[in-house]
């Protein structure tokens, strides 16, 4: 056990040095190792990555969003109903259908003349175009299961689970894109936006941030559309429930006009917007300018030309932000929205319009914000506890085991360096509980040495020579050390499985610490012990 070939020694030292090299950038100032905006002076082959601090240490906002599955389903079914309506009317003879109804996972309607059933089924076939992506995942080929009742003329399209799952996956993917664009506009550094599970999205924005503003920006659906006002009935009548067909009652943002009746069909909608910028109105109020693409510009121009002197509404997520009178046709395809904005809200709205609408509603399930001051306090406290804990253990080991304790301490130093090196190299996230994990590892890592020294002591007291006692001590302690560490590893792996965010960080350092401590306490310290034994040739062991 005490004999180490030259090669073996080289490998052990190499591992320790590699740990040190990877840990080193953490001790270097930013202008040497390079950083966010600084180019370092280190040669490129030298590792320069530092430990990745968790949001609880550097400050930042964490948000867990859930995509509203129900609204995704609703949208898909509504689109299918619209398509069906259109296909039935697309060529002559027009097939009249009524009673469109969305019920659970299905949309259904009734043909006025059930005899047209075969023709109708043929026409709406394109709704069920085979989706290549679904084919690949091995699902049923068509998004809908079509059933028809020739007696009543009712046709039912049921959305398959595979198709719904795909819709949800797509909605999450598109939402991530939209969120990324919106957050990027904030100019914060390195935001993380990623999928979690089937229908969730994690958004992490490090640094100083205003969580309310982030939520405002991320959570808004931002579906924008332009509608004519419906003036066929008065607002009071509409409020009483007499809403004409094709009209819709929406909220107004102006207190003098809390409810506004608009035509359901938009003149133009947000999809035709190509650009939007914060700007100012003629009288110097913050406003938002926008520009349509060709199609949108044409439609908007036509509509405004036909409706001079009447009012139209700019609607954002079912709230009218402004309802101006059309003074003259708006032909250039661009315009500005005035709606009592502040500079910031005008800026935010233009960001939302540029990034486009979210495909589904998002709900915040979990929000955590830590200010950078608090993070800095945590780092200070954690580092202080780490240093004091470390020094206490180091002194204790020397007191108890003398020079052999010193060897254990050298192993402990190597251990901490290797943990920091591993965290840096793996770019694992260090959280406050993660620091606690390192401190705890310091306390527990010496256990292997304690076990070994205990054995050595027994053997030595039983009359073995120092070298023999050490040799036997290491051998006998080996299986115990392995057993003891595997059980701790089991706990650490479960922590990784269970934890999210900070707690996961604890599992990470604990798990890394188990590997490094087995190496440093059992292998590295054994090599150091053999150096000592063969160099100093002690007649007696201190323990």
């Amino acid at each position: 056990m005490l004999h180490f070939s030259k090669l073996k020694q080289a490998i052990i030292w190499l591992l320790v040095v590699v740990g040190l090299v990877f840990a080193l950038p953490n001790a270097l100032p930013e202008n040497i190792r390079g950083g966010q905006d600084v180019v370092g002076t280190l040669p490129s082959f030298v590792p320069s990555k530092t430990v990745n601090l968790g949001l609880d240490l550097q400050g930042g906002t964490h948000l867990l969003y859930e995509v509203d599955v129900e609204s995704v389903k609703q949208a898909k079914l509504e689109a299918a109903a619209d398509d069906a309506r259109q296909f039935l009317r697309s060529e002559k003879p027009i097939i009249p259908a009524t009673g469109f109804r969305i019920d659970g996972d299905a949309v259904s309607f009734r043909l006025a003349r059930p005899t047209q059933m075969d023709m109708a089924l043929e026409r709406i076939k394109p709704i069920n175009t085979v989706d290549q992506a679904l084919l690949l995942t091995g699902g049923t080929k068509a998004p809908f299961v079509m059933t028809s009742d020739p007696e009543s003329g009712r046709i039912t399209l049921s959305l398959t689970t595979e198709a719904l799952d795909k819709e949800i996956r797509d909605a999450v993917a598109r939402s991530i894109e939209v969120i990324r664009q919106r957050i990027d506009e904030l100019g914060t550094r390195e935001p993380t936006i990623q999928r979690k599970g089937d229908d969730r999205i994690i958004v992490e924005v490090p640094g100083k941030s205003d969580p309310e503003r982030i939520k405002e920006l991320v959570g808004k659906t931002a579906k924008m559309s332009f509608h004519m006002l419906d003036t066929s009935v008065s607002i009071t009548e509409a409020m009483a429930g007499r809403i004409p067909p094709g009209a819709k009652l929406v909220e107004g943002s102006n207190p003098s006009e809390p409810n506004i009746l608009i035509r359901r069909r938009p003149l133009v909608d947000g999809e035709d917007l190509v650009d939007s910028r914060p700007s100012f109105s003629q009288n110097g109020q913050p406003a938002v300018s926008f520009r349509f693409n060709g199609k949108g510009a044409r439609r908007f121009g036509d509509a405004t030309a036909k409706n001079v002197g009447r009012r139209f509404a700019i609607v954002l997520d079912d709230t009218v932000i402004s309802a101006p009178v059309i003074n003259s046709p708006i032909l250039g395809g661009s315009g500005i929205i005035e709606g009592g904005f502040t500079t910031e809200s005008a800026n935010d709205l233009s960001i939302l319009l540029r990034a486009g609408a979210l495909p589904a509603k998002l709900t915040v399930l979990d929000q955590g914000t830590v200010g950078p001051e608090m993070g800095a306090d945590s780092i200070r406290a954690g580092a202080f506890a780490l240093i004091i804990g470390f020094v206490a253990v180091v002194i204790f080991m020397v007191l108890v085991y003398g020079i052999m304790g010193l060897i254990a301490d050298a192993a402990l130093i190597a251990n901490v360096l290797m943990i920091v090196g591993a965290l840096s190299a793996l770019q694992a996230t260090l959280t406050l509980p993660g620091i606690a994990g390192i401190i705890l590892t310091i306390g527990m890592a010496v256990d292997a040495n304690v076990l070994i020294f205990g054995r050595v002591r027994e053997e030595y007291r039983n009359g073995k020579t120092p070298i023999n006692a050490v040799e036997t001590g290491f051998t006998k302690a080996r299986s115990t050390i392995l057993d003891a560490n595997i059980t701790t590893l089991i706990a650490a792996v479960l922590l990784l499985q269970f934890g999210s965010g900070p707690v996961k960080g604890f599992g990470v350092t604990l798990a890394i610490g188990i590997f490094t401590s087995v190496f440093t306490a059992f292998v590295f310290s054994r090599m150091l012990t053999s150096y000592w034994l063969f160099k100093a040739k002690p007649k007696a062991l201190p323990i």
């Binding site: 939520k215 914000t369 406050l432 201190p542 323990i543």
Partner: protein, 310 residues
């Protein structure tokens, strides 16, 4: 450097640990009953991560006047709102209980509550600053409770299987009884002390499970070795001798771990205090259970000596 305290640690002690098993079992049984009763009657003071709700950490200019802040937040009609100092005089934690509502509605209700509180603070408290906020929806907190329970039971089952695989079934039963003992006593401690029980306490419990198992394995390893070595010795004597032989290691490792944990408890800041307290408690209980529960239980379960032929 030829001086070392370990010289003064006696070898070959013959402390009759196993003889005290009835006292130990009695004490442990009482502690378990008290813990379960405390859990059922008092219950755990769950943090918002397990209950849903929101909390905000603020600092005020100079020492915070809780009697000024309290009425401001209590008048908002948000149900139970706790206002207390956090770590120092000028830092205050405001915890708002979970607002009613399920699903999306519930998630939004928590968000609205924290907004209301911030607005009220803006209007009434001069120069306050936000340090940290967290808002957890009932949906997520429910999932976290389940995940926590699965993780703890998962850990126990994995340990059971591992020990069974490495030793004999009696050892794995003994080890898991000792672990369950530690977990129950920790939960009892948190019920009685009304300290906040949150995610980091689950992390602590899992670590305690790992630590206590570690201790138990060391003793078990020695028992197995001694069973092979002293074929004639009675099981009770083997257990006693094994505990005595590993006693100095058990003590020293407990001390180094506690040294690290006390550093964390006193210096690591308010956020980690609950965690380090749980760990300190767990190390003490885990060390006790390895000696007084895990080992003597082998006597109750009986170990077949023949199975340890190499």
């Amino acid at each position: 450097m030829s001086f070392a305290l370990s010289r003064y640690i006696p070898l070959g002690t013959k402390i009759p640990f196993v003889e005290q098993r009835f006292i130990a079992f009695g004490l442990s049984s009482i502690a378990i009953v008290v813990s379960i009763a405390a859990f059922l009657i008092i219950g755990l003071n769950f943090g918002i991560d397990f209950r849903g709700g929101s909390q905000i950490l603020i600092v005020t200019e100079g020492p915070a006047d809780l009697s000024e802040i309290r009425p401001v937040v209590l008048s908002l009609g948000l149900g139970d709102v706790q206002v207390q100092n956090f770590g120092n005089d000028s830092t205050v934690r405001i915890r708002i209980e979970r607002q009613s509502g399920e699903g999306t509605e519930g998630a939004n209700a928590q968000q609205d509550a924290i907004k209301t509180v911030k607005a009220a603070l803006d209007a009434n408290i001069e120069g306050w600053q936000e340090r940290a906020t967290s808002v957890i929806s009932p949906k997520v907190s429910g999932e976290l409770v389940n995940a926590g329970i699965y993780a703890v039971f998962g850990a126990l089952i994995c340990m059971l299987i591992y020990i069974w695989f490495r030793f004999e079934w009696q050892f794995s039963v003994g080890a898991v009884v000792a672990l369950a003992h530690d977990v129950i006593l920790t939960i009892g401690m948190f019920s009685l002390s009304k300290l906040e029980f949150n995610l980091s306490i689950i992390a602590a419990i899992l670590t305690i499970v790992g630590y206590s198992m570690n201790d138990t394995v060391v003793v078990y390893d020695r028992i197995r070795e001694n069973l092979r070595k002293y074929k004639r010795m009675s099981l009770l004597d083997v257990l006693n001798q094994s505990i005595n032989e590993t006693l100095s290691r058990t003590t020293i490792t407990s001390i180094t771990t506690l040294l690290a944990l006390f550093a964390l408890f006193f210096l690591g800041g308010e956020v980690l205090r609950g965690f380090s307290f749980a760990m300190i408690w767990g190390v003490v209980v885990g060390t006790y259970s390895s000696i007084f529960v895990a080992a003597p239980i082998l006597l109750v379960l009986g170990v077949q000596r023949g199975e340890f032929e190499e």
